[in-house]
Symmetry: C2
Subunit: 333 residues, 2 copies
């Protein structure tokens, strides 16, 4: 589709633009990159690349800027994903090997490390427990009317939730509940805790509905809940020249400040692997000047959370993807 020289030129333009954020000129390319063609030749190719919509031109007499299509081609065809140094690898390893008590802490560390290394804003959300199996479930009575349920999953997630009752609960009842739930649920998928389960316990075990119902409801909520959003490096945005403009910076902050939007961005169904969404490709217009790179941290089929990087379309895809790939590998241990 594109001949070799055009590919090289496109690549050079994109990489140059990623670095400088300035429109790239033909003269610059022929000098700085050793393409061994005169600026005139490059100019001809640039004109064709522009005609084919890989490049844009801010105005008649300016250099070229990559278009969305250009970035997409670059990401799909030209991207090197081993753009990572030994030092960077070691640093990631070091960070991820910290002792943590809960999986969520690991997600937090990964998020901040990612932002630190890429210099972009990173965001993450904890995983729901829906894909996990129950390893242990315990109920604890706190005071007389407050019950806490603690669920340990085989993925190592710990979800706790509080259930409040209108009447006193006895220790005896707690023991019963503990026994019923463990007998029925241990080893089972958390997706199993639902209405039929509630009915089963109430009818088969003839246990009071007004106790079981709120428990099941709360546990279900806790399993599906992933409201904890981690955001790291919001201020990084100011390191990029394109955000010197008040409007773009404001726009960015508006996106970042809308928790529901972030939640949606990260939760939107995506399977394993790294997902890249460039400019216009994003499903929200607010993000049309941004690129989003996200990945689910899935360990042995169990979802642990979703992490993402958000930055200008002029993002250093190569660096970010390389770092994420390595990080994913490390997270699997």
């Amino acid at each position: 589709m594109l001949d070799n020289r055009k590919k090289r030129i496109l690549q050079a333009i994109i990489e140059e633009y990623i670095q400088t954020a300035e429109p790239v000129s033909s003269g610059m390319l022929s000098k700085k990159y050793d393409l061994n063609f005169s600026s005139a030749t490059i100019r001809n190719d640039m004109a064709e690349l522009e005609y084919a919509n890989f490049l844009d031109k801010p105005h008649t007499s300016s250099g070229r800027v990559p278009s969305g299509k250009g970035y997409r081609y670059y990401v799909n065809e030209l991207l090197k994903d081993n753009n990572i140094t030994k030092e960077e690898m070691q640093y990631i390893k070091l960070k991820l090997e910290q002792k943590v008590n809960e999986i969520e802490d690991l997600t937090k560390i990964a998020t901040s490390t990612l932002s630190e290394m890429t210099h972009y804003t990173s965001l993450a959300i904890g995983g729901t427990a829906i894909s996990h199996n129950i390893e242990d479930i315990k109920f604890v009575l706190l005071g007389n009317r407050v019950l806490m349920a603690v669920i340990l999953t085989d993925g190592g997630l710990i979800k706790e939730t509080i259930i409040k009752f209108n009447a006193d609960i006895t220790e005896e009842q707690v023991r019963n509940i503990n026994q019923i739930f463990n007998a029925n649920l241990r080893g089972k998928s958390l997706a199993k805790i639902d209405k039929p389960m509630e009915e089963y316990i109430v009818s088969e075990m003839s246990y009071e509905l007004q106790i079981i119902k709120p428990i099941i409801e709360q546990i279900n909520e806790a399993i599906l809940q992933n409201d904890d959003i981690y955001l790291e490096g919001t201020n990084r945005i100011f390191e990029m020249p394109e955000f010197k403009s008040y409007e773009t910076a404001r726009n960015f902050l508006n996106v970042i400040d809308t928790k529901e939007l972030i939640k949606e961005l990260l939760n939107t169904g995506q399977d394993e692997g790294i997902h890249i969404s460039i400019g216009d490709e994003n499903q929200y217009i607010e993000l049309k000047n941004f690129s989003l790179i996200t990945f689910k941290n899935i360990v042995e089929g169990k979802e642990m959370g979703t992490i993402g990087i958000i930055g200008p379309t002029r993002m250093d895809y190569s660096k970010v993807v390389s770092i994420i790939k390595y990080m994913l590998k490390e997270l699997n241990e």
Copy 2:
């Protein structure tokens, strides 16, 4: 110290400046506010107010702008703290009456409500449990080597923490630990869980140190821990004209993005009541263009968290203080 007319003029200037963010001129004052003096008279007073450092002048031929000292005088002497409408009161009531499972959720709601109503960025940190007494403490074994401690305080705080062991723990041991801790600690202040307590349990009750030590350590950490920072309305900053300047906006974001700084700001020892820190008064130079209004939510002597508002020095102190006062009253129920 200041005669009546000067006070009125100072107040008018500050209130006008808070609204418009533009230097205030003598002509404007004599027209818009019914001071019944000519602009020349007002001009004379303004010159004196400037000489006494209550006002600044951006340049020779411009209107006046309040100085730090001016704001401080305004806040101390001229501020009306009942600047709140019935609708606003109702709205606060409505928000705070939502059913919540944990105190932290209440702090979260208060924070977002505050930001929403004042149009400034609000921030908060959960309280440590140090000022609380233990109402109940429970240990739950999750798997074989993971113990979870759940502490319920008389203030209604629930703190949970995870303790990992290198060797298996038996259910028998858990029962023992439960009994020992409840026997020794129920009703006592959480500040009591420390080294001496550890030694006491180990020597008097002759219980193994390698089990008790990590438990006490972790519990202590959990009591003192208040890492959860809530931030609401970061993007509000862009609603203020003074932050159209790239530098100030960037500066603001840098502050907001530094979790340690926020933690410090909110945790810095302050007793009951509303604390106002204006511009230069802030102990961090990064904040010299900002004002910070903070208050601890203390219910019956028990700390529940600290909430704050951060905005330009040109902040609507009257509105913010009025809202906070009412909110504090409501939070005490």
